[in-house]
Amino acid sequence: MFLKRTLPLLIVFLLGLAMIIQFYIPHPVSQNFYDSMAEWVRISGAFALILGLSSFFYVHTRKLARKNKDSFYSGVAILCLIGMAGIGIFGRGGINGWLFSNLYRSIIVPLDATMFSLLSFYIASAAFKAFKARNAMAFALLVTAIIVMLGRVSFGSFLDGIVEWILVYPNTAAQRGIILGIGLGMIATSLKIILGIERSYLGGGD
């Protein structure tokens, strides 16, 4: 119990408090403490990546072993990971080499861009579904959306003024309202974690 609960909570409390105090002290000792903490975060992140990769291999080798119709994709995933890393590390010229650069340019860039471009299809279908003038508020939303969309096309330049106004005032006001609540929520959550009130992230209830 001590190792699983009390010690982690103690570390969180002490380090959380230390980081708050450090923020106000410009002394070199305090700055060095901040720098070393940042280093430790990076070091622990690197170890977590090993755990992540072991999970990746575990999941996909199991899927391969099951030999069902989707196992093929697990094989592709493993092959791509090893292949790309291998070319980057051992290939001629490393990550600056011809092969790595071209794999990046000709496979990763278009694949990634394709995934992102799916968004335009989904936005269209979501807009078609959502923008129905069911009541007065929905009607206001519909009209605003049409004005802003028209304002973003070349023939809609006559709407530039009103589009800017919508984005600068009503949009900003609504966003600030939400951001204010989020900011306070963040501070409260951080304090709850530092003080050990919130401990669900350690697993289990208490």
Binding site: I50, S55, A126, G185, M186, A188, L202
Partner: protein
């Protein structure tokens, strides 16, 4: 912002309000720092014809030699901030500066002066952060007060949050249909509070799933988040008395690439057809891709994020959406732990005070209430914020 401090100090030197201690070159410490910077200022020579710039030399010990640490490229710029990492300054060092005027070809033509020996010093408190100290004390006080109140009054009111009430029902539906629950803890890292809030909800959800003997799938984008979600789900199964039902490949790392992750999760949705999809945490452009795919598979979807731009997409495609701070309130809402509910009350009070201040100041500004524009009030505010 370091310049905010330098420029007023330099102006003061020029105004003659600071003594130049007998030397034409004056050295001043930069306040609120770690002793790694100094401001050097000097009087411009009376006859400036033929002068174009200055070179600044520094000697770090009495026996040492003068080394050039900088150049002031304009004749009017009679000050220099010495904070060059190539020539570091530390508190306790004794330094002397020498300023030399140059002609157009950068030939040294006249020495302006040599400063007296000076030692940079470090501060123990950054006074420019006084405002945040006040904010921290205010938030802490509200939190502690409401924690104590919550301990006395166990029935503090907390409004209904439909999305969280629906969690039970959503997990129950998956059980009835014999399908799994998909839980995406956002795509951000552990230093994002939204991720922490999401993991706080994952615990109770995983426990419920374990009790109902259903399967939960948790794909992760960040390896640190993966290690934590893995432990949380494992613990939840243990707590539900079903450690044997937990399978290692239920919680897994997918990829750090945003859209590779989305492609994998969408693939899971299409192949396994989970009955319930929960998207709680930080999301970016992928929010609509996930939610629309989930919508197409007919799953019940509950989302929650503090990413303001993604909220409209979730609202459109999901059955329930937790907006902003509702995500942070979730763990208190689900556990009904009076102490946690107390913290939400503290948040409400803080928000109310901020809103009152905002409205009050806006009304006063609209009414053109001049006190807030008076010089004395602005000076008070400027001194408070250290500018």
């Amino acid at each position: 912002m370091i310049f905010k401090k330098f420029i007023p100090a330099v102006i003061l030197v020029f105004l003659g309000s600071l003594p130049l201690s007998g030397s034409a070159v004056c050295v001043q410490d930069v306040p609120d720092d770690d002793g790694s910077a100094l401001i050097v200022s000097w009087e411009p020579p009376g006859d400036i014809l033929g002068f174009f710039m200055y070179k600044i030399y520094r000697k770090d010990s009495l026996e040492g030699e003068f080394v050039q640490v900088g150049k002031s490229s304009k004749m009017e710029n009679c000050f220099f901030v010495d904070k060059d990492p190539r020539f570091p300054l530390n508190s306790g060092m004794n330094v002397v500066y020498r300023i030399v005027a140059l002609d157009e070809e950068e030939n040294e033509i006249r020495e302006i002066g040599v400063s007296e020996q000076f030692s940079p010093s470090h501060s123990y408190f950054n006074s420019t952060k006084k405002n945040t100290v006040v904010a921290v004390i205010f938030v802490f006080t509200a939190l502690i007060t409401f924690l104590n109140l919550a301990k006395k009054d166990k029935n503090l009111f907390i409004r209904k949050i439909a999305g969280l009430d629906a969690l039970d029902e959503a997990v129950g539906r998956a059980t009835e249909m014999g399908r799994s629950v998909l839980y995406v803890p956002g795509l951000s890292t552990m230093d994002d509070i939204a991720t922490v809030a999401s993991i706080n909800i994952l615990g109770p959800v995983a426990k419920k799933v374990a009790e109902y003997e259903t399967k939960i799938l948790v794909p992760n984008r960040d390896p640190i988040v993966y290690t934590i979600t893995h432990e949380v789900v494992k613990e939840a199964y243990l707590e539900a008395g079903r450690p044997d039902a937990f399978q290692e490949d239920q919680v897994f790392f997918v990829s750090q690439n945003q859209f590779a992750f989305v492609a994998a999760v969408n693939g899971i949705m299409m192949r396994e057809k989970p009955a319930t999809n929960l998207y709680l945490g930080m999301f970016w452009a992928e929010s609509l891709l996930l939610a629309e795919t989930g919508n197409a598979t007919g799953a019940v979807q509950i989302a929650g994020t503090d990413s303001v731009t993604q909220l409209p997409f979730f609202v459109t495609s999901c059955d329930y959406t937790l907006i902003g701070e509702e995500l942070y309130a979730a763990s208190a809402y689900l556990s009904r732990d009076p102490v946690l509910v107390g913290t939400i009350k503290a948040q409400d009070v803080e928000k109310a005070i901020l809103l009152i201040l905002l409205v009050l100041l806006s009304v006063l500004a609209i009414l053109n209430f001049n006190f807030f524009r008076s010089e004395s009030f602005l000076r008070f505010i400027m001194s408070f914020f250290g500018t």
